[in-house]
């Protein structure tokens, strides 16, 4: 696959794809004789993984380390697992924060909806 195809398939800019490869967030991509990138099935797998992890805010640093470990073979299985467990813990914490914020948002939206009917907001607490 060309970079244009991969870019469209995963909705990631070509600049970002090149950037990810340059910093080692994904392993080096195969090239044609001319030097153009030719994404294999496996490269696409890495792109998909990168997109998924980044969409959840997993830091670039952690993903670079994961990629480096993965390229060192089976003796890094434990290290990789620990890295993922650590990121999972952080992710769970973030999700809890977001749940709390969601509750607050729901509460405030509810108040505003009632206020739209009654016309006043005097009973709103700023920190509710």
């Amino acid at each position: 696959m060309t970079i244009t195809e991969v870019s469209k398939k995963y909705d990631i800019s070509q600049d970002t794809l090149r950037y990810y490869e340059r910093i080692g967030l994904i392993p080096a991509v195969n090239r044609t004789k001319g030097g153009m990138r030719d994404y294999s099935e496996e490269s696409c797998g890495w792109i998909e993984l990168a997109k998924c992890m980044r969409s959840a805010g997993i830091p670039i640093e952690a993903l670079i380390e994961y990629c480096a470990l993965a390229q060192q073979g089976d003796q890094t299985i434990t290290a990789r697992k620990e890295l993922l467990v650590e990121e999972r813990t952080k992710l769970l914490e973030k999700m809890e924060d977001m749940k709390k914020t969601l509750d607050k948002l729901n509460y405030k939206i509810d108040i505003y909806e009632k206020a739209e009917v009654s016309g006043v907001l005097s009973w709103e607490k700023p920190n509710a």
Copy 2:
């Protein structure tokens, strides 16, 4: 309350507290005759709200707009509600992304745990 007290109470740096006020993410804080900040109960409510919203990644821009609207009185109730609804939608989308990532993380961790026992990882798919 002094800025030091508020900083400790909400675990936000004094720099960040001043920054939030300067950019209008919270309304102006009362001052003593000498010009020092004297946080009221209401100011603390705003700080708490800011902390909660920011911890979920709600962008600064949106919070500045919300704060500006809130200071204009009851005629901005609908606008404020719409702003919150929009942010809630984005938050929900982010939470879904995170859920997907969590599932993938769980799946991969599970694979690594099994591999630790069997000693090989040959059956791992990169994009699983």
